[in-house]
């Protein structure tokens, strides 16, 4: 990983040309491209459903959450390709409308985690010594709590509102990202061009934000992209337990929450949302791995 940093550490201009090189290498990996395409597709799906909801709320009401007990537990058919759930709701619609919850809760929570962890990690890595020691010991404490256990604790204490869910997913990921940011910053901060900037009288904050972080970006982006997958799995887990996104909101994990009860009569409720989660997380992992290989070909085996 240090090689990647070094490659791009020779100043920002070089960093920029390194980016085009990264994009070129990323494009060469078919799995990574597939992953990225699928994620972009999901983003598009989310945006389209949001626009539809604003322009015509009836679609959401009639097809996504309206119960229609006549179709209860219908297996997949031409009319309902993914089948229907225990309330006769079309699972295809619910999966499509659920995209935004799984995806955006995953993305936004990792952004929060990156902000929290990044701030502490950058401070720890940049100042070193006691500051580093204190911050990282605190991070050790957070790391000692398994992420799903931590998420359960946050939800248990604060409740299941969307902002609390975001926190519940973000807090356990923050120290993991803090470690990566810290390590990256530490390898970059002693480079000559940082020394030069310091000699010009720039403040510490300016140096961290404008010079250190951009050059320490590579491993941070990779870790963050892989963390989004973990976040999606965690949110699905919480919803499955009934302490995540609340019904009738069609988050993928919450579609699964009734699966166990109806396992005998309706296999499709279990199988289909799980497959969707799997392909999404797989895409994120493929894109993340591709990005890592593109940023540091040496790491590829």
């Amino acid at each position: 990983m240090s090689k990647a940093i070094e490659n791009k550490a020779n100043g920002q201009n070089k960093a920029r040309s390194a980016w085009s090189e990264i994009i070129r290498r990323f494009k060469k990996s078919k799995p990574a491209l597939f992953g990225l395409m699928f994620i972009l597709f999901l983003v598009l799906v989310s945006l389209v459903t949001i626009v539809l909801d604003i322009s015509n709320p009836e679609i959401y009401n009639n097809y996504v959450i309206k119960q229609n007990l006549r179709n209860k537990l219908d297996p997949p058919s031409w009319q309902h390709p993914f089948g229907c759930d225990e309330f006769g709701r079309d699972i295809l619609f619910r999966v499509i409308w659920g995209t935004r919850y799984s995806l955006f809760i995953g993305l936004i929570s990792i952004m929060i985690a990156l902000f929290l962890g990044g701030t502490f990690g950058a401070i720890a890595g940049y100042y070193g010594k006691h500051v580093d020691n204190i911050i990282m010991r605190i991070m050790d404490v957070f790391l000692a709590i398994p992420s799903m256990v931590m998420a359960v604790a946050v939800v248990a204490a604060l409740g299941t509102s969307t902002s609390n869910l975001l926190l519940a997913i973000a807090i356990p990921q923050a120290p993991r990202l803090a470690r990566i940011v810290r390590a990256s910053v530490m390898t970059v901060k002693d480079k000559e061009y940082i020394e030069a900037t310091r000699a010009l009288g720039a403040s510490n904050a300016t140096i961290i934000v404008k010079y250190v972080l951009p050059n320490a970006m590579a491993p941070i982006i990779v870790q963050a992209s892989l963390s989004v997958g973990t976040a999606i799995l965690n949110i699905a887990g919480l919803s499955f337990l009934g302490i995540g996104v609340q019904p009738p909101t069609p988050e993928w994990g919450s579609i699964l929450s009734s699966a166990r009860t109806y396992m005998r009569d309706a296999w499709h409720i279990s199988v289909i949302p799980g497959l969707v989660i799997m392909i999404t997380v797989l895409s994120l992992n493929l894109a993340g791995d591709g990005l890592r290989d593109a940023m540091d070909p040496k790491l590829k085996n």
């Binding site: 990282m136 010991r137 605190i138 050790d140 404490v141 957070f142 000692a144 709590i145 398994p146 992420s147 799903m148 256990v149 931590m150 998420a151 359960v152 604790a153 946050v154 939800v155 248990a156 204490a157 604060l158 409740g159 390590a183 997958g229 799995l233 699905a236 887990g237 499955f240 337990l241 009934g242 302490i243 994990g253 699964l256 699966a259 166990r260 396992m263 005998r264 296999w267 279990s270 199988v271 799980g274 497959l275 989660i277 799997m278 392909i279 997380v281 797989l282 992992n285 493929l286 085996n301």
Partner: protein, 320 residues
């Protein structure tokens, strides 16, 4: 060596105190009023206030925290709001079941190691490619979902294993452990396979492997003595980290399989707003994870003599 263990244990105790502080603080933010949960909605403001005072809920946060830690040392985690039974007793009843399930899950996840070795030795072969694709998929879906699918196939259709509960007697217990163990360990197995593979590939390139070959050693000995011991160093870390994921996963897996463990207990307690039970469970799982981390660090020092030496020389703690 004993000094190293002592030092790490001391660190662990500090970390556990920190963990309790964090978890206690999070739980303390809960808007739920314990007095109200206990006495019900019909209680008057006066009786509520009285109970709060009696329970020491009005004391400053740090006072309550230290009281909790001191009680914990005596094995007292408070009383469940729901049924007035001691939390420690309830957790004590369930913890062995969780440890049993988690251990079986870790054991299952270890099959990733020989798989990783085999794929590394046949890099780019069809076997390697197929296995790596499988591990990618295995790591991408929620573990509890695999549990659901396996129940549908192996319990409901084939009737090989029970779909829920914990069997009594060795044979039934073993049968009831199979599906939950695979569920809880499957993502770990995938991670172990991938980590072992890349670590083996890294080690295979090392000069000391050429030195070993130049001695005239055969392939089997080179793999086991020279490659694997070095390749396992990063794998041990991953197995340790997986244990954390696995304990978190116990919350889900135990729910899917109605396994009478701490994980299911915490979910039930959340639904009944039983704060002392939730707190007790989270603290218990975090302490278990800390202990596993300590064991992993000690194991580490046994595999890698450089770590031992590092501690001997400067006494610094490793951080990376």
């Amino acid at each position: 060596m004993s000094r190293y263990i002592f030092k790490r244990s001391l660190m662990m105790i500090l970390v556990i105190l920190g963990v309790i502080l964090v978890v206690y603080a999070i739980m303390d933010m809960s808007p739920i009023d314990p007095a109200k949960v206990i006495l019900g909605d019909s209680a008057t403001e006066e009786t509520l206030a009285e109970l709060r005072k009696e329970m020491g809920l009005d004391d400053p946060f740090m006072v309550r925290y230290f009281r909790y830690v001191l009680n914990l040392l005596k094995g007292d985690m408070g009383v469940s709001y729901r049924n007035k039974v001691s939390v420690a007793t309830q957790i004590g009843d369930r913890l062995p079941n969780t440890i049993l399930l988690a251990s079986c899950g870790v054991l299952f996840s270890l099959i990733g190691i020989p798989i990783g070795v085999a794929t590394a030795k046949r890099q780019y072969s069809t076997f390697d490619n197929v296995t790596m694709v499988i591990t990618l998929f295995a790591a991408a879906a929620p573990a509890f979902w695999y549990g659901l699918i396996m129940v549908m196939i192996f319990s409901l259709n084939l009737r090989w294993f029970p779909s829920a509960g914990m069997g009594k007697g060795f044979v039934d217990l073993a049968r009831s452990l199979v599906l939950p163990s695979i569920t809880i360990g499957i993502r770990g197995a995938a991670n172990n396979a991938r980590t072992t593979r890349s670590s083996m590939l890294e080690v295979m390139r090392q000069d000391y492997v050429d030195t070993a070959k130049a001695k005239g050693l055969d392939d089997r000995i080179i793999t086991s003595r020279h490659m694997l011991r070095n390749a396992l160093i990063p794998v041990v870390t991953v197995v340790g980290l997986n244990f954390g994921v696995l304990l978190g996963g116990s919350v889900l897996t135990e729910t899917v399989f109605s396994w009478p463990g701490v994980g299911r207990f915490v979910v039930e307690s959340i639904k009944t707003q039983d704060i002392p039970s939730v707190l007790g469970c989270v603290v218990t799982l975090a302490i278990m994870f800390s202990i596993v981390n300590l064991l992993v660090d000690i194991l580490y020092a046994f595999i890698d003599p450089r770590i031992k030496a590092q501690y001997k020389r400067s006494g610094v703690t490793k951080n990376e």
